[in-house]
């Protein structure tokens, strides 16, 4: 099957700082990939490159058969097909939950309002908060907001979903509700790239886990291999660090 995202020889600099070094990655449709690594390793930057929130300087990114270049039309075409969920939700605070969800379908997909509302309500039910549709983001808890953010992305019916540490800003009580939503989504066959520290989620859902360090992909393996038999020293250290107090969660 053809790759939906293929990255080859990706290099990125912030000024003179070399953030991503020669990244090669191919993602097949319906594949779930979890990207892990210490902070500053370039995980977020990598997935932000995929929908051009960050510009890359060298290499090639092809999403759904369209190459990311400086061409604005191509960028917008890719962004239409790639949904993204942020660490801090980034809902639009001046719009209600429903308006947040119908905005992009109406303006980007040019969908009639009624259809957009129907679709938004469908996805809000999927994330189990249809009763909040008329409220504003500020009135919701963090977990609810993140689920709205997921629904908002889904309303565009993207082919790929990017998650940039979706649970890092949440209270422990709320992490589960978001993860459950993501697991449901994964079970339905959505292509997902997830940057997260939730190793339990990785074990349960991921097809492949990628370990990044210092801007490079150090190790790629299925979760069982990844957690049980890490090959590189750096990954062993990393797992030892993060699993110290998380063993119970897994």
């Amino acid at each position: 099957m053809e790759n939906i995202v293929s990255i080859s020889g990706l290099n990125k600099w912030f000024g003179t700082f070399h953030v991503l070094k020669d990244i090669d990655l191919a993602v097949k449709p319906k594949e779930r990939i979890v990207i892990a690594g210490p902070s500053g390793s370039g995980k977020s930057t990598l997935i932000r490159c995929i929908n051009r929130l960050e510009e890359h300087q060298r290499g090639k990114i092809v999403v759904d058969g369209v190459e990311l270049t400086n061409n604005l039309e191509q960028i917008e075409a890719i962004r239409r097909e790639v949904g993204m969920v942020f660490q801090h939700f980034n809902l639009f605070p001046h719009l209600t939950i429903l308006e947040n969800c119908i905005l992009a379908p109406m303006w980007v997909r040019k969908m009639p309002r009624k259809e957009a509302v129907d679709r938004a309500m469908y996805y809000l039910e999927r994330v189990r908060i249809p009763e909040q549709a008329a409220k504003y983001p500020g009135q919701l808890s963090g977990g609810q907001q993140q689920r709205v953010a997921i629904a908002r992305s889904l309303c565009m019916q993207p082919k790929v979903m990017l998650f940039d540490e979706p649970t890092s800003a949440l209270d422990p009580e709320m992490i589960k509700e978001v993860l459950d939503t993501m697991i449901e989504l994964a079970d339905e066959g959505m292509t997902m790239l997830v940057v997260t520290h939730e190793m339990g989620f990785a074990k349960k859902v991921a097809d492949r886990v990628i370990f990044m360090d210092q801007g490079q992909i150090v190790e790629v393996a299925p979760p069982i291999e990844f957690f049980e038999r890490p090959k590189s020293e750096r990954l062993k250290e990393f797992l030892a660090d993060i699993l110290y107090d998380k063993q119970d969660n897994a």
């Binding site: 962004r79 949904g83 993204m84 942020f86 001046h94 980007v108 908002r152």
Partner: protein, 805 residues
């Protein structure tokens, strides 16, 4: 510590209990807010005391002791002087005591200056200004709208009452005293025009035969003789008057009552008053749209939205009737098609160019611009041949000349005008449909709305020019002219009943005379044709008829340039064919003609509306990644903010005309408006930029990741949030801009403050009321500004949800 307290198991939750007394309601509020500690308590008491004193003083002066019902300046002045009488007397007495104490001699000579002032006061008091009775007061007052006959009847009734009372007293005062007249019509007329009840009591019921002159003379001679006791006796003789005056020595609330119309629009020609009235009516849908959210939806919302967008332009055009003027030579040729230009008289040239605001004078047989001497050479215009087109510069000017010429040929015919109106209406409707309904409209709405804002101007010109000022629809103007004198509709016998059998024009009441002069059918209002002709002949020989009603008969009143000011001039000056009026609606020059609150509102509202929209664009421009846009925006903002508004106003009105080519001379009001708009824009841009900076990066990223384009992102996500964050600052800027419009006095526009200061309180009869006038202007501004800030608080509350990010 026992084990029981260390280990504890909760078996039952406690129920909620009521808070202790004094912890709720007003007691709590007082305790927490006003008396929370010793310092706060002292501060509270102090503030209440200071505030109370000041407020009470003002309240007393403004409301309680004011000559509230003193309909004339005379009543006010009398009250003031009566108080002075007592006060001066008191101070003279204490001065006398002081001198006596120092010298040890009783009745020593005192300060001459004070003495003179006192005697002067008495002189004023006894002067002919002071009416001797209420009836006298009525007779002297120019405000008396009562029919003289009705006053006479009323006075007769009053006299009858006095007689009846006297008879009643003589008869031993048995039974009920004869009451006041109960004629409701008279009572109403009387109540509407009464002076203060005390004054009425004094003037009518009191000693009508009070000896003013005598008392004045007594006091004066007593003072000459240094006999304070005798002077006091003289004052006691005037006691009822003095008491009345002391009780009514406050603000003269007569200014606004008598001058509200002038305050509103200054001195609009009476025939033009339909303009502000129409604008006020048009404001209703605008306010509905702004205030009622429900009305912003659906087709109603569309219509109201369009009216709101168009309103500033409609209002501006209706009020000033600014004509489309693209070429100076067009009006010359249009006004005098058969006279070669070099043979025109100066009158004719002025007349033709009056609309354009340009003045050409003849030098060495050529017409040159004469307004600014230094620039004569630069802008001298050669008109050596009779062919107007020869002097038009090639390019844009010539093209525009051709356009206006062909436009004129269309608009000169009835069907042509109707065609334009119909086209404009259709265009308007289609534009509205596009904007509101279609997908294209949805995408492009923000830009179309701005375009619509601008396009409205042209559309309005066409519609107004076509319908309102078309001779074909002349009768409709009567409908709008709410202040029109309905004399022409009255039958002769009705007229006679109302005004008496006046057949001589000169004896008609002032308001009637104008109508009589203007009417096409003088016989219908009981004036013979001969009378009318005679009246006109009188005016022509002795040109007192003042076309502009500005009190000055000047060359401009001689509209058609035959050196006589007559009916033709009047007809032409207000008619649809006034020279230079290419687009129909007669131009009303704003300088010295109209203004007041109207000008303040126009400048303030249009300036605010423009500044808000353009400020957003400019703020975005300043943040742009394109260097050219960024530097231009920054340069504009810094340049505009760099100078005070007053210099920018002066530049725009006096300097800009020197720089601009001759085809684009702005009218003063337009130049002012543009200056205010741009000035406000620069400030607003910085405020909005502050809002833009407060928006987290995540909002941009979220919008981008959803695939929104730059403009969608800006319009839907960024600008709404940016403006809502800085609502207080926006309102702050708008309030400042609104009040800054009072500076237009420097370029000769009369805003509300200037009308009050230069027009109303400088009149002889109102010249002591500057304080009241200023207070009224202050109240006007306060009401508006306070309303605006309440509105902004309401907005903040409504968008307060934003804060819970």
């Amino acid at each position: 510590m026992s084990n029981e307290t260390f280990f504890r198991r909760l078996d039952e939750y406690l129920p909620d209990q009521a808070p202790p007394p004094g912890n709720t309601g007003p007691v709590k509020w007082l305790r927490e807010n006003l008396f929370s500690g010793p310092v706060n308590s002292i501060a509270t008491v102090l503030i209440v005391a200071i505030f109370g004193t000041v407020i009470w003083g003002f309240f007393n002066w403004f409301f309680l002791t004011s000559t509230f019902h003193g309909e004339t300046q005379q009543a006010c002045r009398m009250a003031t002087q009566a108080t002075l009488l007592e006060e001066r007397m008191g101070s003279l007495r204490s001065e006398q005591r002081r001198l006596d104490r120092i010298s040890g001699v009783e009745g020593s000579a005192f300060d001459d200056r004070r003495f003179k002032a006192f005697v002067n006061n008495l002189g004023n008091l006894a002067s002919k200004d002071i009416p001797k009775s209420y009836a006298d007061l009525l007779k002297n007052a120019d405000w008396v709208a009562l029919n003289r006959a009705e006053i006479a009847k009323y006075e007769a009734a009053q006299a009858g009452r006095l007689e009846a009372i006297e008879a009643w007293i003589e008869a031993g005062g048995v039974g009920e005293a004869p009451g006041r007249t109960r004629d409701p019509k008279l009572k109403k007329a009387y109540d509407g025009n009464t002076v203060h009840p005390d004054a009425e009591k004094f003037f009518i019921d009191g000693p009508d035969q009070l000896d003013w002159q005598g008392a004045g003379a007594t006091i004066a001679s007593a003072l000459q003789a240094r006999d304070l006791a005798k002077a006091q006796e003289g004052i006691e003789a005037l006691r009822p008057f003095v008491d009345w005056g002391k009780a009514n020595n406050g603000a003269c609330h007569t200014v606004l009552k008598k001058n509200y119309w002038q305050l509103l629009v200054n001195a609009y020609d009476r025939d033009q008053l339909w303009r502000p009235i129409l604008v006020a009516l048009l404001l209703i849908p605008v306010l509905a749209f702004v205030m009622v959210p429900r009305l912003r939806e659906g087709s109603v919302g569309m219509v109201l939205g369009i009216s709101t967008g168009l309103f500033p332009f409609v209002a501006f055009f209706v009020l000033s009737g600014m004509a489309l003027k693209l070429s100076h030579f067009e009006p010359i040729q249009g006004a005098y098609p058969n006279i070669p230009i070099e043979e025109l008289t100066q009158h004719q040239m002025d007349d033709a160019l009056a609309e354009v605001g340009l003045r050409l004078s003849r030098q060495n047989g050529q017409w040159v611009e004469g307004q600014s001497l230094e620039f004569v050479d630069q802008w001298s215009v050669r008109l050596s041949t009779g062919e107007v087109t020869d002097v038009l510069p090639a390019g844009f000017g010539r093209t525009m000349y051709g356009l206006t010429a062909s436009f004129n040929s269309v608009t000169s015919s009835e069907s042509g005008r109707l065609l334009i109106a119909a086209t404009a209406l259709v265009f308007l409707v289609v534009l509205g449909l596009l904007i509101a309904q279609t997908r294209f409209g949805r995408v492009a709405r923000p830009f179309l709305r701005f375009l619509q804002f601008v396009a409205g101007f042209a559309i309005v010109i066409a519609i107004w020019g076509t319908v309102i000022n078309n001779p074909h629809f002349e009768h409709k103007r009567g409908l709008l002219d709410l202040t029109a004198d309905p004399l022409e509709e009255l039958a002769p016998e009705e007229l006679e009943a109302k005004y008496g059998a006046h057949t001589q024009l000169g004896r008609l009441p002032k308001g009637v005379q104008l109508t009589a002069l203007m009417t096409r059918d003088p016989n219908a209002i009981g004036v013979t044709q001969a009378d009318q002709d005679a009246a006109w002949a009188d005016i022509v020989d002795n040109p007192v008829y003042d076309m502009n009603r500005d009190g000055v008969v000047n060359a401009q009143d001689d509209v058609n340039g035959d050196d006589r000011i007559n009916a033709t001039d009047l007809a032409e000056s207000r008619g649809d064919h006034a020279p230079g009026n290419i687009v129909f609606l007669t131009h009303v020059p704003v300088e010295n003609t109209w203004g007041g609150i109207l000008i303040t509102m126009i400048l303030g509202l249009i300036g605010s509306a423009f500044a808000l929209r353009a400020g957003i664009l400019l703020a975005l421009g300043r943040q742009s990644t394109l260097p050219v846009v960024r530097y231009l925006s920054t340069g504009f903002i810094e340049g505009m903010r760099g100078g005070p508004l007053i210099t920018i106003l002066i530049m725009s009105v006096f300097v800009l005309p020197l720089i601009l080519p001759i085809q684009f001379q702005p009218q003063p009001l337009v130049a002012t408006l543009v200056a205010v708009c741009l000035f406000g824009t620069a400030y607003m841009a910085e405020v909005i930029r502050g809002g833009l900076q407060a928006i987290p990066k995540g909002q941009y990223e979220a919008a981008q990741s959803l695939g929104l384009s730059y403009w969608q992102e800006t319009n839907l996500i960024i600008v709404p949030q940016a403006t809502r964050t800085v609502i207080p600052a926006i309102v702050n800027t708008l309030i400042g801009l609104f009040k800054d419009t009072t500076l237009v006095i420097v370029i000769g526009l009369l805003d509300v403050l200037t009308v009050m200061r230069n027009k109303i309180v400088t009149k002889v009869e109102w010249n002591q009321t500057l304080m009241e006038g200023l207070i009224y202007v202050a109240i006007f501004f306060f009401i508006f500004m306070f309303g605006l800030s309440r509105y902004s608080m309401w907005l903040e509350e409504r968008f307060g949800i934003l804060k819970q990010r």
